[in-house]
Assembly symmetry: C2
Homo-oligomer: 287 residues x 2
DNA sequence: TAGATTGTTAATCGATTAACAATC
DNA sequence: TAGATTGTTAATCGATTAACAATC
């Protein structure tokens, strides 16, 4: 069946369900799907203030997108607006909720109850919007038996039973990176078909399983990239010198030559790398 | 100075720094920038195993992308590979680190030391890779003075002093949604130009400030969307009936008519919505 | 030299945007 | 009817991908 690709932020085998680009089945583009929760949040806020209708312009501002994009997005759902008037808030809340599958109940397991698992278990937006924490799981006997967010932490051994008996199809992984793939395999084997991964690892899953990942470290690195550009806002330095300190570059070039070796048809992977200059490199690297 | 747009996952005013599409300054596309941390992580693992060189095919597999994409990505950085051989691991680690700005130190403040703030403060990947927690801040007097990850939690009042004196340019917001915009404003006013937002709110920032957001609830909703499609995998139902229960649709249509009103040139926003049918709608909605 | 693998080209695909006709 | 605002079109832009010439 293969849903469209698991989204830009998802990681998987080198490109699995690459078959259907748009997330098909009434053909809503992935980019649109990713924005629907944003619209829904803005609409919910309007609903709570009992605002009856809203224009694309107003709603777009509230959601932080431009109105053309919003109207295009909504056009994939159907014609739910009224020309000259706008959109009925309650009706749209319902339509988007239904489209996202939030009119049904989604039991979720959280595996790995460390700091982050705790935080997620307590997260309010979890319980609302159709998601229900079916169980908290951990491998550490010291953690098992304690409670988090009013729920008992249960042992990993119960994973399969819980997934099957409670019909869990969504799993959240908040384990250390080393345990993530194993936990993932067990979840998938037991029947989970959607995984939200907080561990900084690439997960490999079979076709038909969606993985999305949340990665603090990656987000920070992307910010650092832009931040760096802001600081030195020269015309856009492209001299050789500003690309790497001279000595480092020289050492690296040497390294490459050494690695390249020569005659061997064997990929240089097996050529013993000239160790030494690397210390220079790692000296400028963060631990 | 307007960096390229803050990325798909960033939220801001309806489209601020829309000027430069690719993240300019040697023109690395946003999509490529977002993948560099992935490559870096895979390369670091290889480096720790003392693997000297790696082919695009191998590295792509480790990073969870396809090799064509990886080679294209690397081509924006320069020609760092060797035909017939592959890439020198150490050299590439250095080049990507430098490109991402990780060869310098980035002091970061975390505002809002609840469960999530705690989790982040303790996050290992934080301290490594050039990021350093400069301070933990909270508004709650009961939290201020406690320690998290070995650091004292300081009061919000100190925000400006800390940002200025420690040259903090990156702020992480883990406050409740209601406080996020205010905290954001203070951070920006004090000189922060990059924000990582964990609060489920759209933040408005001036031009030149980047915002990225991490939103558990949105990720889950995207998974639910795909999950829903998997369950009922009919040819792709598009009868009117499967789009909404009859009564709901009827009630909604009525609502829309009522809202549309008629003569008034005023947007129907001000027309008193016919309350009543909405209860039907909210009944099927998650709280 | 023969084999391997990069770096680049060009085709394709998906997403964004402005503009405006349709229509409430 | 006049004004407002949607839904859609078409142009543009950015990202992905396969293929292959360059070259180690």
């Amino acid at each position: 069946m293969a849903i469209g690709r698991p989204s830009p932020s998802s990681s998987q085998t080198p490109d699995p369900g690459a078959a259907r680009r748009t997330s098909r089945a009434r053909g809503i583009p992935e980019a649109t799907v990713a924005r629907l929760p944003l619209y829904l949040r803005a609409l919910t806020a309007l609903s709570e203030r009992s605002v009856p209708t809203v224009s694309s312009e107003e709603l777009a501002a509230a959601a932080g997108v431009n109105s053309a994009k919003l109207r295009k997005d909504f056009s994939y759902l159907g014609s739910y607006g009224t020309r000259g008037v706008g959109y009925d808030v309650e009706y749209l809340v319902y339509q988007i909720s239904r489209e996202l599958g939030l009119t049904q109940d989604w039991p979720v397991v959280i595996v790995g109850i460390g700091n982050l698992g705790h935080a997620l278990a307590n997260y309010g937006g979890f319980a609302s919007r159709g998601f229900r924490v079916a169980a908290l799981l951990d491998a550490d006997p010291n953690v098992v038996g304690s409670t988090a967010a009013g729920l008992p932490v249960r042992h990993m051994d119960e994973l399969e039973d819980i997934v099957v008996s409670q019909h869990v199809s969504i799993g959240v992984i908040t384990t250390p990176p080393g345990a993530a793939q194993l936990v993932c395999d067990r979840l998938v084997e037991a029947g989970v078909t959607s995984i939200l991964n907080f561990a900084p690892t690439v997960l490999t899953v079979p076709d038909g399983v969606d993985v999305r990942k949340v990665d603090l470290s990656i987000e920070l690195q992307i910010l650092a990239f832009h931040e760096q550009r802001k600081a030195g806002d020269e015309p856009a330095g492209d001299s050789v010198l500003d690309r790497a300190p001279g000595p480092v570059r020289a050492a690296a070039a040497k390294l490459r030559r050494a690695a390249g070796g020569g005659k061997s048809a064997e990929p240089a992977k097996n050529a013993p790398a000239a160790k030494g200059p690397e210390d220079d490199l790692s000296a400028v690297m963060p631990a």
